[in-house]
């Protein structure tokens, strides 16, 4: 079983929908670039669809060395069976050491199917990937340069580091929005390679009748971190401070009902009894008093940081961390600290910069 192709490339599934490239592969490319440079191997993407070759350029500009394009009219709509066949065939041929998919509805349908067929491991929903060593607790044998796959589990209450020591490719899905997207380098060169499409004789088991999608607004439920603003933010313009903090954290923006009623932000951002109920890993409440109707929608967050100028605000009663102060002063300091204060180091700064 031990068959580790240490020269193998890193392969990213480049999700697209109707010829439009999703954001996830671009996020994955910046992380993938970092991993590929550490391992000194090439970074590749696989692009699957019908007439999607034109998207390869963008992938190269964002860091891909090679883009494998599987282009075929039968691949127009996503289908588990056909996409898994094409991606699986490429993995069998290229033997990448790492394969990464976005943990999107499509990625979480495709990746387990591919991993099952390849009989390799798959780590779900990672929030970080690193290269590191692993010592087998039974044999005490150390393995170097493995992919450390860091993921929340147990309803977000624990963070586990998963490794895949003996059976490659090391495969993972990565949550949307957690990796920083780097900016495009329009001069970057790469190869576009045609990938084999072996679907002859395959009777597709699914026929899509209709697909209704709406432009994505905020997805509070899926957010790992939420920065929420209340009446204390003061104005619609000043709400930009909340967005800025969310930007450096890769967080979603939430709001109290008072903030919505005052017109600071649209109502699909509202958290609480009559809004969305959320349980993120971290909830940052800024200028929110902590009314029961608001707390009902966020008090089960793993960690709550409250920022409020009133020491007696009820929000401090359910918070784990508190800063008593004017949010107009506190938030810029917080943003500065996250952007890479000396005490935090490089790794954080890389994740934390706003999306390009």
């Amino acid at each position: 079983m031990e068959d580790l192709n240490r020269k193998g490339e890193i392969l990213i599934f480049a999700e697209q929908d109707n010829g439009v490239l999703s954001e996830v592969p671009l996020e994955l490319l910046s992380k993938g670039r970092e991993l590929a440079d550490t391992l000194k191997v090439p970074l590749a993407c696989v692009l699957v669809g019908d007439k999607v070759g034109g998207l390869a350029r963008k992938l190269i500009q964002h860091g891909a060395d090679t883009v494998y394009v599987a282009d075929d009219p039968r691949l127009k709509d996503y289908q588990t069976a056909s996409y898994a066949r094409v991606v699986g065939d490429l993995i069998t041929e290229r033997r990448p050491q790492i394969c990464i998919f976005g943990a999107t509805p499509m990625g979480r349908d495709l990746a387990p199917t591919v991993a099952s067929a390849q009989r390799c491991g798959l780590t779900a929903d990672c929030t970080d990937l690193q290269i590191g060593n692993y010592t087998d607790p039974a044999t005490k044998e150390e393995q170097t340069s493995l992919l450390l796959q860091i993921r929340p589990a147990f309803g977000g209450n624990i963070i586990a580091t998963i490794v895949n020591p003996y059976n490659w490719p090391q495969m993972a899905t990565v949550r949307e929005g957690v990796m920083r997207m780097s900016s495009a380098d329009t001069g970057r060169q790469g190869r576009v390679v045609e990938a084999a499409v072996n679907l002859d004789g395959m009777e597709l088991p699914v026929r899509v009748l209709s697909r209704v999608t709406r432009a994505r607004t905020v997805n509070l439920k899926a957010a790992r971190i939420i920065v929420a603003g209340g009446a204390g933010v003061g104005s619609r313009e000043n709400f930009q401070l909340i967005r800025d903090l969310a930007g450096v954290l890769g967080a979603a923006v939430g709001a109290s009902r008072a903030a919505v009623d005052l017109g600071f932000i649209a109502n699909d951002h509202q958290v609480g009894q009559t809004g969305t109920t959320v349980r993120p890993a971290l909830y940052i409440a800024c200028g929110i008093s902590g009314a029961v109707q608001h707390c009902a929608g966020m008090q089960e967050s793993a960690k709550i940081l409250a920022i409020n100028s009133d020491r007696d605000a009820p929000i401090f009663g359910i918070a784990h961390y508190g800063i008593v102060g004017d949010l107009n002063e506190v938030l810029p300091m917080l943003i500065k600290a996250i952007r890479g204060g000396a005490s935090i180091g490089q790794a954080v700064a890389q994740h934390a910069e706003p999306k390009a």
């Binding site: 588990t80 069976a81 898994a84 509805p105 499509m106 979480r108 349908d109 387990p112 199917t113 991993a115 099952s116 009989r119 390799c120 798959l122 780590t123 779900a124 929030t127 692993y134 929340p152 589990a153 147990f154 309803g155 209450n157 624990i158 963070i159 586990a160 580091t161 998963i162 895949n164 088991p205 699914v206 026929r207 899509v208 009748l209 209709s210 697909r211 209704v212 999608t213 432009a215 971190i225 971290l282 793993a302 960690k303 401090f316 784990h320 961390y321 508190g322 800063i323 008593v324 004017d326 002063e329 506190v330 300091m333 917080l334 500065k336 600290a337 204060g341 935090i344 954080v348 934390a352």
Partner: protein
């Protein structure tokens, strides 16, 4: 005609009720401190299967892999209307990741030759949502994830799927496996009559344990065996026996099961839950806020 359905259910610790005291100092989870429940979306999977039987006839068999204590969820399934329950239990299945879990389930489910398999979308402990798709791949069934609505006609299923930013309706060829969303339906309540009846249902391993307690330490192995088989036959005659299969019964290849068959290893676990009542205040200064951020980075909350 009617459809043969299998529902996969998992008993899970109620992670929504985690507090600081459910976590050990080393960051691992003290499962004993949490109530064990029927995985929420598996309730929706069971309900979907029962609705198919209501409309078209057929049977609903519920399968779980786990410790004998997982019979609690099987009894609950019988109370809601399942026709048959099977416990897959075997020490050699311990430490299975999703690849090994789905392989073991595929051996058991394959024996039942179903038309339809229903899984929950995701279990609230492992949180991977991988077992359903991997089971479909191993069975060679059409995979339909994120199911919200289902209508069957002959050998075809018309399925509405929740694809995150919208809905898709598709026709899928049977046999098919569905992973069911919480939004699909609500599990029916149990009828009192069924609760009274099925609270007595037992799997052989449970029967053996209670016989041991009843006869005491002095009982001979022969006496234990005789009493166990007597009670087992009696329960079977009343339709109260939960089937129990081990890895040999389902013909599983041992090198694909348990830790040996699991490519992934959990290397490290850190708790991100705070002990109840923890509150710490930070000064509104750059230094103090930097300290707070460093701590949040340290425990992977941010970054």
């Amino acid at each position: 005609m009617g459809y043969t359905s299998v529902v996969c259910v998992k008993q899970v610790p109620d992670t929504k009720r985690i507090t600081g005291n459910a976590m050990r100092e080393d960051g691992t989870v003290n499962r004993a401190a949490l109530p064990a429940i029927f995985n929420p979306e598996d309730r929706n999977a069971l309900e979907a299967a029962l609705r198919v039987r209501d409309e078209h006839g057929g049977t609903v068999t519920v399968v779980t892999m786990g410790l004998p204590s997982a019979c609690d969820v099987l009894r609950e399934a019988l109370e809601r209307g399942a026709d048959r329950c099977i416990l897959i239990t075997d020490r050699r299945a311990a430490a299975s990741d999703t690849l090994a879990t789905s392989y073991i389930l595929s051996c058991a489910v394959g024996k039942l030759k179903p038309d339809l398999v229903f899984c929950g979308r995701q279990a609230i402990d492992g949180d991977t949502a991988q077992v359903g798709p991997q089971l479909a791949e191993k069975l060679g069934f059409t995979l339909m994830t994120y199911m919200e609505e289902l209508a069957l006609e002959g050998r075809e299923a018309r399925v509405t799927r929740n694809i995150g930013n919208g809905r898709e309706t598709a026709l899928a060829r049977l046999p098919a496996l569905f992973t069911v969303m919480e939004s699909a339906n609500e599990m029916r309540p149990a009828a009192m009559r069924k609760i009274m009846k099925f609270k007595k249902a037992r799997a052989p391993m449970e029967i053996a344990n209670s016989v041991k307690t009843a006869l005491g330490v002095s009982a001979t192995p022969e006496a234990l065996a005789a009493e166990t088989s007597r009670r087992t036959e009696e329960l079977a005659a009343r339709g109260l026996l939960i089937d129990q299969w081990n890895l040999d019964d389902i013909g599983a290849r041992l090198e694909w099961c348990g830790g040996a068959g699991s490519p992934t290893r959990v290397n490290r676990v850190q708790s991100v839950v705070l002990a109840g009542g923890d509150y710490r205040e930070f000064e509104p200064t750059q230094a103090s806020i930097g300290q707070l951020v460093a701590e949040l980075v340290q425990d992977h909350t941010i970054g």
